[in-house]
Symmetry: C2
Subunit: 256 residues, 2 copies
Amino acid sequence: MGKTIVIANQKGGVGKTTTTINLAASIALAEKDILVIDTDPQGNLTSGLGINRDDLQKSLYDIYTEKQPIENVIVETQVPHLYIIPSNIDLLGVEVELVERHGRERILADAIVKVKSSYRYIFIDCPPSLGLLTLNGLVAADSIIVPVQCEYFSLEGLGLLSRTLKLVRGSFNPSLDIEGILLTMFDPRNALSHQVAEEVRKFFGDKVYHTLIPRNVTLGEAPSHGKPAILYDARSKGAQSYLSLAKEILNENGIR
Amino acid sequence: MGKTIVIANQKGGVGKTTTTINLAASIALAEKDILVIDTDPQGNLTSGLGINRDDLQKSLYDIYTEKQPIENVIVETQVPHLYIIPSNIDLLGVEVELVERHGRERILADAIVKVKSSYRYIFIDCPPSLGLLTLNGLVAADSIIVPVQCEYFSLEGLGLLSRTLKLVRGSFNPSLDIEGILLTMFDPRNALSHQVAEEVRKFFGDKVYHTLIPRNVTLGEAPSHGKPAILYDARSKGAQSYLSLAKEILNENGIR
Ligand SMILES: Nc1ncnc2c1ncn2[C@@H]1O[C@H](COP(=O)(O)OP(=O)(O)OP(=O)(O)O)[C@@H](O)[C@H]1O
Ligand SMILES: Nc1ncnc2c1ncn2[C@@H]1O[C@H](COP(=O)(O)OP(=O)(O)OP(=O)(O)O)[C@@H](O)[C@H]1O
Ligand SMILES: [Mg+2]
Ligand SMILES: [Mg+2]
């Protein structure tokens, strides 16, 4: 119960949020209780699931400032079995506000402990940085999924990410595993896409998922309707690819 | 002389670095001396211009830590007239290291003053965040170019960016103008692309450049060869669109 998976990559726009939304929704639709946590002050996960950030009474920020216990901050989404700890803009201040606080990299980990047993999986979406918010995600997680866009800069960023994982294992979370590497926005007509996929497989071997997420219009449109792709257009390649990823992950984790 | 333009957007992967590389190269090829500054610890601008980050003796970090004057940190690129202050991974520590330092948001601005007159334009590439590194870029600049990817999340991020610009003008840099808004990765076959373009034009009016940057394989491939698109494949749509953007900007600034 409550396997906590962080979805992280310091490179921007590689599909962290899109993966969190659609992977979580796919598993939730298999009637398993899933919690997603939006640790990005930009709040794309929150709005991509149809939650109005301006109306938010409580958010992840209240957990960091110890104003609310985690149970009070979790809300339902329009997807049955899918719950969220939303983010709002106050999170922007957190990195600076907590610079002096002891144990500041463990705040999320300590909060999650209290609700871990209520969910099959907990997914943590991270901002494109290696600051305190992402660090909390890496420290709280059992394992990491790394979305890698099939582009040169994204490939280049893997060295830095690997070094960061080593550091985190060395100092804060020795049991942080790589759940898997997910190739995103794969374009089969594009030679560079194939080259990046090859390089990533050389480097990470069978940690790379067989499922490739193709570039698909549905994945870009669905968040503008506040829905995961599977509720917006279940037959789309985008929705189907994340369904297939969900099956791959559930099989690996021995859940059918 | 030395108009300083920051290229910023907290949303990841919208084309900040691609725009900095290709806009700067296009103007440099018109034989104007151009300086680009890589303020992203990820260093995509640096590697995209063919500079080996592991061999770097000096970088932007030395300016922040006051170990080197700005003149010592500027290096040539393989593009005639194009110079760079490179970034390396040490920049990751800067936000935390400088949290106590007085005037920490002005360090880049104060350094640039000494070399401003040597260049026609200075372009500052920012990381996908609103932290101290981006703030230094916003404070140092005369104006900002905002690349906006034709996708929903990128559109959504404009509200936050506008509020940030207001804050920066209010507290640090009253004369920060919007140089222009650049629609990137535009796909004419994609209804969402058109919707985002429309929304952006509603919001920003004639600040939006007429030049649209199309999705083009060349723009993704060129950095893997350490070159701007115009040296990699000058006839590509990608290279041509940034050439056209450069003309638009030079005309607006009264330079032919
Ligand atoms: N497979 C896909 N096909 C088409 N569009 C996609 C796909 N995956 C993601 N997108 C779109 O690309 C953009 C970037 O994706 P997303 O926001 O999920 O990346 P991210 O890594 O979370 O970005 P950030 O670093 O800013 O948090 C978004 O506008 C998203 O809707
Ligand atoms: N017009 C385009 N056509 C095709 N690919 C593009 C285009 N513009 C950018 N890219 C590619 O898309 C990815 C994201 O672009 P880029 O890195 O320039 O964005 P960024 O805003 O600087 O990202 P970050 O927020 O991580 O700094 C890169 O791999 C780049 O090569
Ligand atoms: Mg995201
Ligand atoms: Mg960049």
